[in-house]
């Protein structure tokens, strides 16, 4: 128990809100037992925020749920003490019966919980108001009328406009940010002493994230709540947390004040994690390629409208996903396309490959641009066969490393498929080529006979890259290629891509929502907002000196992973 003593050092005992000692949770799965949480101890202190940081599968969410005793069936708490302090005698949550009256009196009343996915965390068939009223009636014993009035009041506190009307709306009528606000209102309805926020902004765009985090911080401050913030985002931790606990494979490997964790990490893992995050905060030191010759690939006034057929069979244009976008990619260049969800960046990427046909505009390809040859090919007008040739030269790396590999094919079949289709290799030549490709992306030769399900997310993304490289492409379009990966793996994959670019003379169109990734990887960046490119410039210029209002608000909303230099608080708001 030497650890327990350590934790208490910096807090006066009467400020404690909740303590956890030696908590362990096991999952009894079909094939094995997973020790999801092992011997975890920490304190939550009134008015302070503890960030529980870790990569996926580190057991952070399970820990949070264990505090409320709401973990799912195959999991069980095997040991540990959970003590809730309050005005009365301390309560031992771990000793209470499953779903007992005592536990229920704590849930929602004394510990509030905010989840990652506000859409699925609220019932779609009941109004927002009804779901909040329920909480109030349950814990604060209000009448229906009182509860309704209080609900409107709460919605107003979380800055939802027209709270009277909005209380009667359903979740799908709300935007993502509004939903999360409603969720916060619900979690705070009964004035809890402890607030647990489980990845509260992961599903949201950065600008919305900044607003929501502002709101949470302000409410926490007003009410003096103890908060546990669960996140994988070190930037958010630096901006928000007072203390940090780093989790890995179910254990807390290191905990302490935020500043110390960021500037003086003690364990190798924390150091790696912070290094990987910090590295993405710098640009790569590569001279930008010359932009004097003809561009390799150009989009000219490309637009995409998604229509909806009316009941009379006429098409009416519903959404303009991409609105007259023009851009150029020069040989050897990494062009980033940045935007929030719904900005049209993915549709733009798909139109470059004609997976989605542009409604108007042209895509021009100059296969000889590297040698100064400006001969143009109009991709938008290409017949099937020519398109095949184009798609050999321009390859796509997908976002989801799980969905993009056919689970029924071995790695050899996946990587070799384009070679077989193109008739380029077969038999042992094919095998050699696949081995060579796997080697290029840092996978061993014996990975060939395995199936995708045997690999982790990062390894799968490497397989996807190997497939993209199989046909010796000139251009790779990477659509959020690293956003599904944990931060340490993300940096590895980006380094791999940079290395491959140097060796194979590639050009990249890099589509991402994550500014830091783009800064690290790209030479030039185009910022998209509502289907339009609002600003184009070098990566450094966009990040350090954005010109357009939207870009400024976007950049300033990105959390900075340095607790000594918080950025979000002084951000610029963009009104449109």
């Amino acid at each position: 128990m030497q650890q327990t003593a350590n934790i208490h050092e910096h807090t006066a005992a009467d400020d404690l809100a909740l303590t956890v000692r030696n908590l362990s949770v096991d999952y009894h799965l079909r094939s094995h037992i997973l020790h999801a949480v092992r011997d975890v101890s920490f304190d939550l202190v009134k008015g302070r925020t503890l960030a529980l940081v870790g990569e996926s599968g580190s057991g952070k969410s399970v820990t949070a749920r264990a505090l409320l005793r709401i973990i799912d069936a195959p999991a069980q708490v095997t040991s540990g003490e959970i003590t809730l302090f309050g005005p009365d005698a301390p309560l031992r949550v771990d000793e209470m019966g499953e779903n007992s009256r005592e536990v229920r009196a704590i849930r929602g009343k004394r510990i509030g919980l905010i989840f990652q996915e506000p859409m699925s965390s609220l019932s779609p068939v009941r109004t927002i108001g009804a779901q909040i009223v329920e909480s109030l009636r349950l814990h604060r014993k209000m009448t229906v009328a009182e509860a309704k009035a209080e609900t409107v009041n709460l919605l107003r506190q979380v800055e939802i406009a027209q709270p009277e009307q909005m209380a009667d709306r359903y979740t799908f009528e709300f935007s993502g940010g509004m939903r999360q606000r409603a969720m916060i209102a619900m979690a705070l309805a009964c004035d809890p002493e402890v607030l647990i926020a489980d990845e509260p902004t992961t599903a949201l765009d950065v600008t919305t994230q900044a607003e929501i985090m502002d709101l949470i911080a302000r409410l926490q401050h007003q009410r003096g709540m103890a908060m546990m913030l669960i996140t994988h985002d070190l930037g958010l931790v630096a901006e928000m947390a007072d203390d940090v606990a780093v989790m890995r494979f179910g254990r807390i490997v290191e905990q302490g004040p935020t500043d110390a964790i960021f500037h003086d990490p003690q364990t190798a893992y924390t150091r790696r994690l912070i290094d990987a995050t910090m590295r993405l905060e710098t640009g790569h030191n590569r001279p930008p390629p010359p932009m004097d010759g003809p561009p390799l690939l150009s989009a000219k006034e490309v637009s995409k409208y998604f229509g909806e057929a009316t009941w009379r069979g006429k098409k009416k244009w519903g959404i303009t996903a991409v609105d007259g976008v023009s851009l150029d990619l020069w040989p050897g260049e990494n062009l980033g396309i940045v935007g929030e969800s719904g900005s049209g960046k993915t549709t733009l990427g798909k139109m470059l490959l004609r997976i989605v046909e542009p409604s108007t505009g042209k895509v021009i390809w100059r296969p000889g641009a590297g040698n100064g040859d400006a001969a143009e090919r109009d991709v938008t007008a290409m017949p099937k066969e020519a398109l095949k040739g184009y798609r050999r030269a321009v390859r796509l790396v997908f976002q989801d490393p799980f969905a993009s590999l056919n689970p029924r094919m071995t790695v050899k079949q996946v990587v070799g498929d384009p070679l077989i289709v193109a008739g380029l290799a077969s038999g042992s030549a094919l095998e050699d080529r696949v081995a060579e490709l796997l080697d290029m992306v840092g996978l061993p030769r014996d990975a060939m006979e395995r199936y995708p399900h045997a690999f982790s997310g990062g390894q799968r993304q490497r397989i996807g890259i190997a497939r993209a490289l199989a046909l010796d492409p000139e251009i790779i379009i990477a659509d959020e290629a690293t956003s599904a990966l944990d931060v340490s793996i993300r940096a590895q994959i980006l380094d791999l891509l940079l290395d491959l670019q140097k060796r194979l003379n590639l050009s990249f169109v890099f589509i991402a929502h994550d500014i830091s990734v783009v800064r690290y990887f790209c030479d030039r960046v185009a910022v998209m907002h509502r289907g339009k490119i609002v600003e184009t410039g070098t990566a450094e210029q966009i990040i350090t000196d954005p010109q357009h209002d939207y870009t400024q608000s976007l950049i300033s909303a990105v959390p900075n992973p340095d607790p000594r230099n918080k950025r979000m608080a002084s951000r610029i708001r963009f009104a449109s």
Binding site: N99, I106, R107, K109, L113, L122, S123, P124, S135, W311
Partner: protein, 328 residues
């Protein structure tokens, strides 16, 4: 909402036309027509019909005209005058014969639907909430049996059991003394006494499948994040289940009107033949065998329309229940 209702009704029209056409096509399938079978049976008994007489009847019913013309005559008659044609075998207009029978079909189907709902709701919820408990396994086994045993076999078995152990004849909807008697409380009670066997027979498979669906849906919904939210609010477990996942898992109960109804009407048809109930089934079978085309066609048409209306009602109810459908 009004637009939604209108859209559903408009979309139903082509399906209705398709059904009426299929119904008419089927009864046209057998080689020859009613007249040929009459002539055949008459010549069997040594009589001959005068060719002029044959020609007269043919012209009267348009039997010589192409199918599509006959179809239009039939369908316009129904739409404009409510005239479903003439039953050759019974020598009466079809519309005189069908309504009682269709009414009985509808009544037995509705009773079975109620039975299906009442039985499957508690069992489905129990099975989902207490997954892999002994009770769940027992119900699952019964569910499988209910799905596996065809209606008519169940009817036969119940009939045999009733005859053997209760000495009771279980056919029909009324005891002989009440057939044709004016409506009374005693008659109604007698009806209930007879009704339970067909209702159980017809409802069993529907109950079994609805239990399975409810169990599966509720199990899915139980693992959704909003259930955890509800728990994290501190709601007691039964309220968590009733107010959140069950609300959504109930959708199949409403849509059941749409897909259980055809099943039930099917079930009524064959069960009625076995149990000799005065519904459409036995009359349809007889009409088909005798090639009494307008009668058979009208039954098939009306049964199809009935299921379509069931689907419409279930769609509308679903929209009323689930705001997600209403708003999209």
């Amino acid at each position: 909402m009004f637009g939604y209702v209108l859209k559903r009704i408009v979309l139903m029209i082509p399906t209705m036309i398709g059904i009426s056409f299929i119904a008419f096509f089927i009864i046209q399938l057998p080689p020859g027509d009613y007249l040929t079978s009459v002539i055949a049976s008459m010549s069997d008994s040594g009589q001959d019909m005068h060719p002029d007489e044959v020609r007269r009847i043919r012209a009267l019913y348009g039997l010589d005209e192409p199918m599509i013309v006959q179809y239009f005559k039939w369908i316009t008659g129904i739409l404009l005058r409510g005239d479903f044609g003439y039953s050759f075998e019974w020598g009466r207009p079809v519309s005189e014969l069908i309504w009682d029978r269709m009414g009985a079909t509808l009544a037995v189907s509705m009773a079975s639907l109620l039975f299906v709902w009442i039985v499957s709701l508690p069992i489905g919820v129990y099975s989902a909430v207490r997954r892999h408990s002994i009770g769940d396994h027992v119900f699952t086994l019964f569910g499988f049996l209910g799905l596996a045993i065809p209606n008519f076999i169940l009817a036969l078995t119940l009939m045999y059991v009733g005859y053997k152990y209760m000495g009771q004849s279980v056919g029909g909807l009324y005891s002989p003394e009440f057939v044709g008697a004016p409506a009374s409380l005693a008659k109604f009670w007698d009806l209930l006494k007879h009704l339970w066997i067909p209702v159980v027979v017809i409802g069993t498979s529907g109950t079994a499948s609805l239990i399975r669906i409810l169990r599966a849906n509720l199990t899915d919904e139980l693992s959704k994040p909003y259930v955890i939210t509800a728990r994290a609010k501190g709601l007691p477990e039964h309220q968590v289940i009733m107010r959140y996942p069950l609300r959504i898992a109930l959708n199949p109960f409403v849509s059941a009107i749409g897909w259980v109804l055809p099943q039930l009407i099917s079930g009524v048809t064959i069960t009625a033949i076995v149990l000799n109930l005065p519904t459409a089934g036995p009359l349809l079978l007889r009409a088909l065998v005798a090639q009494d085309m307008y009668l058979a066609g009208s039954f098939i048409l009306l049964m199809g329309i009935l299921t379509l209306i069931g689907m419409l009602i279930s769609d509308l109810l679903l929209a009323a229940l689930d705001p997600r459908i209403r708003f999209t």
